[in-house]
Symmetry: C2
Subunit: 205 residues, 2 copies
């Protein structure tokens, strides 16, 4: 074909900008959309609705249609613990585990000097201010759990955060590094195994 219809080209570009969507998939998705105009219009409305209704919880950065997210609003949550995550998807994953009842703080990614992401950009200042505010309330924060990726940027962010929280009278902990559940030891690298050894938990004493 000498050229694609221009509006289809534009739509394919938008699909391509999505994570994990390459050129071939973008074409497949765009052609699929052409076949069902009613669904395409409903899809467009859903996109607009999200831009109009969804935003970040003003307390913790989770996504919500309200001022405060369902977690921050819930009387059942343990307000003495805040778990810090780097992305909303991580909050959702921990929630699906079903065994955590504290609050969260969602950062805007991790510290990265190369990407011009400093403490303020990722929301660290908001977290510290929030911990400080809680001291004067009925439910002061007692523990901050860092549930952040064990990558170079993640570990840097955690070290920085732990340092900033020093002297604020809260316990700072970090999720364990070790072998995933169901994983056979032979599949993991030496560094992961070394960490798993170092962070071992006593069974009998």
């Amino acid at each position: 074909m000498d050229e694609f219809p221009e509006s289809l080209n534009v739509l394919m570009d938008h699909f391509r900008r999505l994570p994990t969507i390459g050129k071939k998939t973008a074409q497949r998705l765009a052609l699929h959309v052409v076949k069902d105009p009613d669904e395409a219009r409903a899809f467009a409305e859903a996109l607009v609705a999200v831009t109009e209704h969804v935003h970040r919880c003003r307390e913790c950065g989770n996504i919500t249609e309200d001022e405060l997210c369902s977690i921050c609003r819930s009387p059942k949550r343990d307000r003495a613990i805040i778990t810090v995550v780097e992305d909303v998807s991580n909050l959702m994953a921990i929630e699906r585990g079903g065994s955590y009842y504290g609050l969260y703080h969602v950062l805007n990614g991790l510290l990265s000097p190369m990407a011009d992401r400093g403490p303020e950009e990722i929301g660290l200042d908001d977290l510290l201010a929030r911990v400080e505010r809680s001291k004067a309330s009925d439910t002061p924060v007692e523990e901050v759990i860092l549930a952040i990726s064990a990558t170079v940027e993640g570990e840097t962010t955690m070290l920085f955060l732990a340092d900033q929280l020093k002297g604020m009278g809260v316990k700072v902990s970090r999720i364990a590094s070790g072998i995933p559940v169901g994983g056979s030891l032979e599949y993991y690298d030496e560094l992961t195994l070394a960490r798993a050894m170092a962070e071992r938990r006593t069974l009998e004493e």
Copy 2:
């Protein structure tokens, strides 16, 4: 999280309806959209624009923003040959090959009694009418090439179509079955190899 914001659920459902997009990817894409409202709005506009501008070429079923697609409109195409394909994406793939200069006819899928898809639903009647009309014109159709998948439904469709075109004074041909370019013989099944043997081409005589 007790529940996702409702508008985000709705958006995830729309992503999930797309081919090859599963639950996890749908969540990832929806969360990505939340982060960039300007892009989300532009994406929505692109979807609506496609529904308003793109439709099927009235002659061949290709997609176009005009009455006739760029191929049917082009004076450079060889109007004596029509290649029948089952989907627009196949037309695009053949065009990218760059060595075909005839016209196309895009069906709405293949014959499938189980899915209630008969000759009329998939556009076979339109094709036959088009071939008939061409007889009275300056550029009668001389050959119909069937570029259709070598699957059960595809072969059924091709047999039916070849039968319908009998007696219309056109040559009916079918794209070759054989081993793909670059493929080592050991990777292919016996049926493909048997076809490749049967459809062999003479090098020297």
